[in-house]
């Protein structure tokens, strides 16, 4: 392997070939223009080389038709690039509905992954081949970026908000995971591997763990942090009932409504006064610093589990 000179990265996701086809188109167009310009310059430089010190070429001031031609044709081509690129981008940005979720927390300098079933990994991600996977990511400190070249996709992992990224692996194997956003001293050591496995092996790997599911972890935290004291899980508490909350439209005190997705729930935990639910008082303290980013993710999973008929399915966006 080491002595080989790779010129092209392996294609291991459904979008990889779309990105590569787009690249071939761009390469073809740009090579055509580069060669055209290089050959013209070389030809002119030789054909019209200075033959005597006194020669004075006829001045040519320009030609409107040529200017129009070499503005309009490249513009048309760039618009094809734009639209093609945008369509691939939509594909890369929009996870399919059946995507299985994995939570990712980046911190200086490691990746922490949590599967819905409770499995945790550091700097490794095991996923089954042929199954779309959606990552919901955040950072504990600075901006990182989750990059898997074989899948041709990356996304910044930003503190204070959730970003997402998805891929559907097509090939069993072991692929590089890189942090692509500079994050300090050991940036180049914030790397790992994505293991794409046969579904059966993946199931075996999953059952190898002993930890409870994420929702179970969240349940425990919900009691440990005394959330249960105010959020009674019925309509009797001082605070809103969380049953059936996930995915619903929540009326707010200022008259607007907001959809209860991951981002909203995270915000309600770390900054509760930002969006106060209509009919309730702004009495909840902030839990910023009292609960880790992973804990927040477990709480989100727990709250999701309180909404029936949506067992571990992603919220439609």
């Amino acid at each position: 392997m080491g002595s080989e000179l790779p010129l092209f990265p392996v294609q291991a996701s459904t979008v990889a070939s779309s990105v590569d086809h787009l690249l071939y188109f761009l390469l073809a167009v740009t090579t055509f223009f580069s060669v055209g310009i290089f050959v013209s310059i070389f030809y002119f430089a030789v054909r019209y080389r200075r033959r005597s010190e006194t020669e004075l070429p006829e001045p040519i001031h320009g030609a409107l038709s040529l200017e129009v031609l070499w503005s309009v044709i490249p513009f048309g081509l760039t618009m094809i690039m734009f639209m093609w690129g945008a369509s691939v981008f939509f594909k890369v940005s929009r996870p399919p509905d059946d995507a299985q979720q994995v939570y990712v927390v980046g911190k200086q300098w490691m990746w922490k992954m949590q599967h819905m079933e409770g499995q945790r990994e550091i700097n490794e991600l095991h996923i089954p081949v042929g199954q779309a996977v959606k990552l919901i990511m955040t950072s504990e400190d600075v901006i990182h970026d989750f990059y898997v070249p074989a899948f041709r996709t990356k996304a910044d992992v930003v503190p204070g908000r959730y970003t997402s990224e998805w891929f559907k692996p097509t090939k069993v194997g072991k692929y590089h995971l890189f942090c692509a956003q500079y994050c300090g001293t050991k940036h180049s050591a914030m790397i790992g591997w994505v293991y794409v496995m046969e579904p059966r092996e993946y199931q075996a790997w999953l059952s190898g763990g002993t930890a409870g599911s994420m929702a179970e972890g969240g349940d425990k935290l919900f009691h440990d942090l005394a959330c249960i004291n105010c959020h009674h899980l019925n309509d009797q508490g001082r605070c809103p009932n969380l049953r059936g909350l996930f995915g619903s439209q929540v009326p707010l005190a200022d008259g607007t409504t907001v959809k209860a997705d991951e981002e909203y729930i995270r915000e309600s935990i770390v900054n509760p006064s930002a969006k106060v639910v209509a009919g309730y008082q702004n009495i909840m303290p902030t839990f910023q610093g009292l609960v880790t980013e992973e804990g927040v993710l477990q709480l989100i999973e727990y709250i999701r589990s309180l909404t029936p008929k949506q067992p571990a399915a992603p919220a439609k966006r």
Binding site: I41, E67, M79, R152, Y182
Partner: protein
């Protein structure tokens, strides 16, 4: 020696003597030389950092320097090359020297402000030098938050202040150029008789004046958050880290055009002079500079395609980014067309111009890849981007700068450089550059992220090629330094117009007198009118 001094005409170099006559000069030509010395120093300093980076990357393991040192090397390489070399490079040296001469003026509009702007660059440089000697800075030249404001243990504030101060140097130079072009043109020098170098520097000045204050504000906010813990960018303090990226790139994308537009102006001069033809499509080339300056302000979001910016913002910025491609393409096509039926000589400046057009074409066309959303998601923050912008900044701007230095050196110094060595240096730079940076496109598409101190083994072959190229490139850059100095004493006397060029700067003696022209020139012909030049010689 005595006879030579007597025979020598009075010029800006021998009009007065002593260190004070330089440090307190108001002559734009002397200030240009002060800038030249300063940025040459910074170029080689930044080059030393680049050399150490390339040596570290020779092997996959991070073994030559520590991670922290490596991070400081690439940060200082970027900060010094961008803010202390590339941005001042062509405008502050060649522009300072020749913009007034090209329009037939005695000096810039504000000679004292011109000197002040040099001092500001030096002060800004001193701050950066201090940060470097005290322990360096490790945020990358992009200063992304919250790393720079909260997590970095390095001299962010001092470096930020240095860039802040140097920014005012840039603003003042831009202001000076704008007023000079508006107010100081010689009789008959209408806007459409201006040499294209003046047009491109004018467009550059607009960006400097309008864009740089935004960078200044952004740096002040970073310094406030870091020193006073005001929450602007750090989410732990209620800030938004992506806001920083919007503010930073609102300046720093247009800054790319601050760096490359003056180079394009140099190339227009070179292509015309060494093919003895008026630049094809003068007005299109002139207005394309202005178009680049304007459109350059509308595309910053293409640096944020993977930042969590909305999908629709990504679409808009990708769309607008393609608009900038057109004026750049217009320039390349018009330069090529200028050669048609010309009288082309292969003097060193023209070799650099050919090099520029080739490398800028590759740099510009790979810009289409990174503007393309679907491809950018893969190549963003990889070596593909490194290669792309080095093709523009080094393959473009630096080739133009060196081409311009060779072209105008006889005017600046009154002496010719050694042509053989100079041609060899042009060739060395061209080959070394391509060997250094072309492999990085492949590295990037393979997935090699930027700013990596250590990397997986399979990338090594391409890194070794790149390091080999960098050593060739270093030789190519050292050669001019040596023979330019040599030529000051031993070069052949140049005479007023060794290239048979049309610009007003060539219609006066070399080196020019302190007030540029014996009498204020009157302009009666268009730019690049070689027939009129020939007629004047005969008449």
């Amino acid at each position: 020696m005595v006879t030579e001094a007597v025979l020598e005409r009075e010029n800006y170099l021998n009009a007065s003597y002593g260190i004070k006559s330089w440090l307190l000069t108001k002559d734009h030509k002397r200030i240009a030389l002060l800038y030249l010395a300063t940025i040459t120093f910074f170029f080689f300093l930044g080059g030393i950092f680049a050399t150490l980076i390339r040596l570290e990357l020779l092997t996959p393991a991070g073994d030559l320097v520590s991670s922290d040192t490596y991070n400081r090397l690439f940060t200082l390489h970027g900060v010094i090359m961008v803010f202390l070399f590339l941005i001042p490079s062509i405008p502050a040296t060649l522009g300072n020297f020749f913009l007034p001469m090209m329009i037939g003026a005695k000096d810039l509009a504000f000679p004292r402000i011109n000197l002040l702007s040099w001092y500001l660059l030096v002060i800004g440089g001193c701050f950066t030098m201090y940060a470097m000697l005290a322990g360096g800075v490790d945020t990358g030249w992009t200063f992304y938050t919250p790393y720079s404001t909260t997590y970095s243990n390095s001299y962010v504030i001092v470096t930020g202040l240095g860039i802040f101060v140097a920014g005012f140097s840039s603003i003042l130079t831009g202001l000076n150029f704008i007023v000079t072009v508006h107010r100081m043109r010689a009789p008959g020098m209408t806007w459409f008789r201006l040499p294209l170098f003046v047009w491109s520097n004018y467009a550059t000045s607009l960006i400097q004046v309008l864009g740089t204050p935004v960078l200044a504000v952004t740096l002040v906010l970073v310094i406030c958050e870091r020193a006073l813990h005001i929450g602007v960018f750090d989410p732990a303090r209620g800030g938004d880290p992506v806001l920083f990226q919007h503010l930073f790139w609102f300046y720093s994308h247009p800054a790319v055009y601050i760096m490359v537009l003056p180079g394009m102006g140099v190339i227009s001069e070179l292509v015309s002079t060494f093919s003895r033809k008026a630049v094809f499509g003068y007005k299109f080339v002139a207005f394309s500079s202005v178009a680049i300056a304007v459109l350059g302000f509308l595309v910053w979001g293409h640096h944020l395609f993977v930042s969590s910016q909305s999908v629709y913002a990504g679409l808009v910025f990708s769309f607008l980014s393609y608009f900038v491609a057109i004026p750049s393409a217009i320039k390349v096509f018009n330069w090529t067309a200028t050669l048609y039926k010309g009288s082309i000589s292969y003097d060193t400046p023209m070799l650099y111009a050919f090099g520029f057009i080739g490398l800028f074409t590759i740099g510009g066309l790979t810009g289409l890849f990174v503007a393309c959303l679907g491809v950018d998601v893969h190549v963003h923050d990889t070596y593909f981007v490194i290669a792309h912008f080095h093709y523009i900044m080094v393959g473009g701007t630096l080739m133009a700068y060196l081409g311009g230095m060779h072209y105008w050196w006889p005017k600046i110094s009154g002496r010719m450089y050694p042509e053989g060595f100079a041609k060899l240096s042009a060739l060395t730079v061209y080959l070394g550059f391509n060997l250094t940076f072309f492999p990085q496109f492949i590295l990037g598409y393979l997935g090699m992220p930027r700013r990596y101190h250590a990397y997986p083994d399979e990338f090594q072959v391409l890194h070794v090629m790149s390091t080999a190229g960098a050593s060739v490139l270093a030789v190519g850059y050292l050669m001019p330094l040596i023979y330019f100095v040599w030529s000051l004493r031993y070069g052949a006397i140049a005479g007023p117009n060794p290239w048979g060029a049309t610009g007003l700067e060539w219609q006066t003696s070399s080196p020019p007198p302190a007030h540029n022209f014996e009498e204020t020139p009157t302009v009666t012909v268009e730019a690049y009118d070689y027939a009129a030049l020939e007629a004047a010689k005969v008449g």
